[in-house]
């Protein structure tokens, strides 16, 4: 059975394929999918993948991801492929791309960073200092964050 058939095909929505194995829950979080609401979400974890060895797949009904979603997704699933489904057919394919600067995607965790001054009118900015291995730091104070911490600090 193909991994894509482990869950039913969707009529309208988005399929996020090639998520690193075990990270589907974080993707749900990073995309701010409200799991309490009526949005049907199908989740496949740890299935074989030619590209990644093992992967997770997510199908989100009645929601089309936009560019901002893709920028967030790039943090944890830089190799993800996105298919927008309309009326059971693939209407659009998209790839995520990790940008060098991430604006208002995650908060800095360092208590003494200027971004912790709540009244300052400044955006949260992170910069990608290395892609392999992935290393992301606050643009202002330079403090790095491990992926788990970064996911906790997604805005």
């Amino acid at each position: 059975m193909s991994e894509m058939r482990r869950v039913t095909a969707i009529r309208n929505g988005t399929v996020v394929d090639h998520i690193p194995s075990g990270y589907a829950m974080q993707v749900i979080r990073i995309l701010r999918i409200n799991t309490d609401r009526a949005t049907p979400v199908s989740l496949v974890m740890n299935v074989p993948s030619d590209k990644l060895g093992r992967k997770d797949v997510l199908k989100i009904e009645d929601r089309e991801l936009d560019q901002e979603d893709l920028d967030r997704l790039a943090l944890i699933a830089p190799a993800a492929s996105i298919a927008i489904i309309r009326n059971h057919a693939v209407a659009e394919k998209m790839r995520v791309e990790l940008r060098d600067n991430l604006v208002n995607i995650a908060k800095c965790s360092f208590p003494n960073c200027i971004t912790k001054s709540n009244r300052e009118p400044l955006p949260q900015r992170m910069k990608v200092v290395s892609r392999e291995p992935l290393e992301i730091r606050c643009y202002y104070c330079g403090r790095g964050q491990e992926m788990d911490e970064l996911i906790e600090n997604i805005i």
């Binding site: 960073c113 200027i114 971004t115 001054s117 009118p121 643009y139 202002y140 104070c141």
Partner: protein
């Protein structure tokens, strides 16, 4: 682009060129020659945190070059009424041609540089960076050794919160230095910085004891364990005073080795060291003047003449 927020804002060639300018400006810094290169220009000294040497040497540098200085401190001003840094900097953008900023929060200098049109010189942001100090440190090292290349440098003390050593270590490895980082485990150099240093191909060794580190050093850079950066007194008491150099500790040191300290010192360098040939920390404090003169000129786009007379 005249900002100096971190040492990444200067290439190695820029660094050498600023140090050359500073060297030519030495007689002006001492007051032996009058050279009003910055006449009519205004420097805003924006100190949101205390400073003695940095603020005063910026002021002297600007005045020796014929410019004037606005001194700002956050006590008794609109900041104590709750004004944001953004608003304060907007005001200063209209009053001055250049600003030196010191702030207790990391990233404040970058934020200010993004917020205003005038050049910003980072005069220390929290435990982050202090690039103008690094420039005067490099000036002092080059003055003593004739080069910045390939030196053995031992950085001692508070490497976690000490912003001077953060900027300095970044700069030194770009000139091929080997670094020995000596600190208690609670005050180690932040992992991001150690990773950056190693990615430059630098030899970096971390130690908890100063024993055996003196004989091979070209530069020993002492720092104060900063009481004010500790969350509680007990943690401070555990590490206060653990490194101390006395004149007698320097038997066996290389000829030409220098001892530096960004000052103020507490008891990490005994007064007995002051009269030895190794002590360079007071010279280093003076070097803030010619170095900051050169940096002010660079940021304001004013060329320092090839012959200063």
């Amino acid at each position: 682009m005249g900002n100096l927020v971190t040492m990444d804002d200067l290439t190695n060639d820029d660094i050498v060129s600023v140090l050359d300018d500073a060297e030519r400006l030495l007689p002006v810094a001492k007051g032996d020659i009058v050279l009003p290169l910055l006449q009519g220009k205004v420097l805003a000294n924006m100190f949101f945190e205390n400073s003695t040497r940095t603020r005063m040497s910026f002021e002297t540098a600007m005045k020796r070059l014929g410019g004037s200085v606005l001194n700002f401190s956050s006590v008794g001003t609109s900041v104590s009424k709750g004004e944001t840094l953004y608003d304060t900097m907007q005001m200063i953008d209209g009053y001055a041609d250049i600003a030196a900023i010191r702030h207790p929060r990391q990233g404040a200098a970058q934020y200010s540089a993004d917020a205003v049109g005038i050049p910003i010189l980072n005069a220390g942001d929290g435990a982050g960076n202090h690039p103008t100090q690094t420039m005067l440190d490099l000036f002092t090292i080059r003055q003593a050794h004739g080069t910045l290349e390939g030196l053995n440098v031992v950085l001692v003390g508070d490497l976690r919160y000490g912003r001077t050593v953060h900027s300095l270590s970044h700069a030194l490895v770009r000139f091929g230095a080997s670094l020995t980082l000596v600190s208690p485990s609670s005050l180690k150099m932040p992992v991001e910085i150690v990773s950056d240093l190693k990615s430059h191909g630098a030899e970096v060794t971390e130690k908890e004891s100063l024993d055996g580190q003196i004989s091979n050093a070209d530069v020993i850079y002492m720092t104060r364990i900063q009481k004010e950066r500790f969350p509680d007194e007990e943690e401070y008491a555990k590490v206060a005073g653990i490194y101390r150099i006395e004149a007698s500790s320097l038997v066996g040191a290389k000829k030409g080795m220098i001892i530096m300290h960004p000052l103020p010192r507490v008891d990490e360098i005994a007064p007995s060291v002051d009269s030895t040939e190794f002590a360079k920390y007071f010279q280093q404090a003076f070097n803030g003047v010619p170095t900051r003169m050169a940096l002010l000129c660079r940021s304001l786009g004013v060329e320092v003449p090839k012959k200063v007379k």
